[in-house]
Amino acid sequence: MWSWVAHRVTGVAIFFFLLVHVLDTSLVRISPEAYNDVIATYKNPIMGIGEAGLVAAIVFHAFNGIRIILVDFWAKGPKYQRVMLWVVMGLFVVTMAGFLPRHLMHVFGGE
């Protein structure tokens, strides 16, 4: 049940991000300066954390989406749906553990 709510919330959040994302990317057609100026305003710790949140939303939505697909199409899917939720959470933790340190390093300087 909570996984269904989370799947909805992450789906909508990603959708609204995508609307803005295509708009800001379209600045490359105005001029290199316009694009670089806007991207420069994104390069701060707050946006960096926002990016981490977005990636977390995508990673959950993607893995849980695969689980939904398996429940629907795999004969044993409904039987293992609870186990698969644990697998989703495990994969989520592993993926984020791989991603976060590297991303935060890029955001908070160092190299």
Partner: protein, 152 residues
């Protein structure tokens, strides 16, 4: 003694559903599309995030030169085009379901869906034009903002 109604007796008319949403199999195709596009999007988006956030200098490397370097290659053009279209159709269809679930009043539901479809058209058309009309070396721009292959 009670009598059982003759099975051929006229039946009361079937109650009409309170609101009609779709006819035919459209909902089924939508359901299949959500699953098929989901699998492809997983590959496209994870690839996008890896190249733009993890590889090399990550986010801190993104600027006009970075984008120009990617879109100089048809490979990334096709990649981004597919990602744009699939994510927008998948996301729009998903949000449409959510509007159907929560917006009870006809007027509200209609207004929300009209805005949703408008946003879909604007973003897909704009995003597609941007990919196809992109010029990595616009004339008159300072060379230090452009990718290194623009030396002409």
């Amino acid at each position: 003694m009670t009598t059982i109604a003759d099975p051929k007796a006229p039946r009361p008319p079937k109650p009409r559903p309170a609101r009609l949403t779709t006819r035919g199999n459209t909902e089924l195709y939508g359901w299949v599309f959500m699953r098929a596009s989901g699998v492809i999007l997983l590959v496209l988006i994870f690839g996008h995030l890896f190249v733009n956030l993890v590889a090399g200098e990550g986010v801190s490397a993104i600027d006009f030169g970075f984008v120009a370097g990617k879109w100089a290659s048809p490979f990334w053009q096709v990649w981004d085009l597919l990602m744009l279209w699939l994510a927008m159709i998948h996301g729009t269809n998903g949000v449409r379901t959510i509007i159907n679930d929560y917006a009870e009043r006809d007027g509200v539901r209609l207004a929300l869906k009209a805005s949703l479809y408008l946003a879909f058209v604007v973003v897909v058309v704009l995003g597609t034009l941007v990919i196809f009309t992109f010029d990595p070396c616009p004339s008159g721009s300072p060379a230090d903002l452009l990718p290194s292959f623009c030396t002409a």
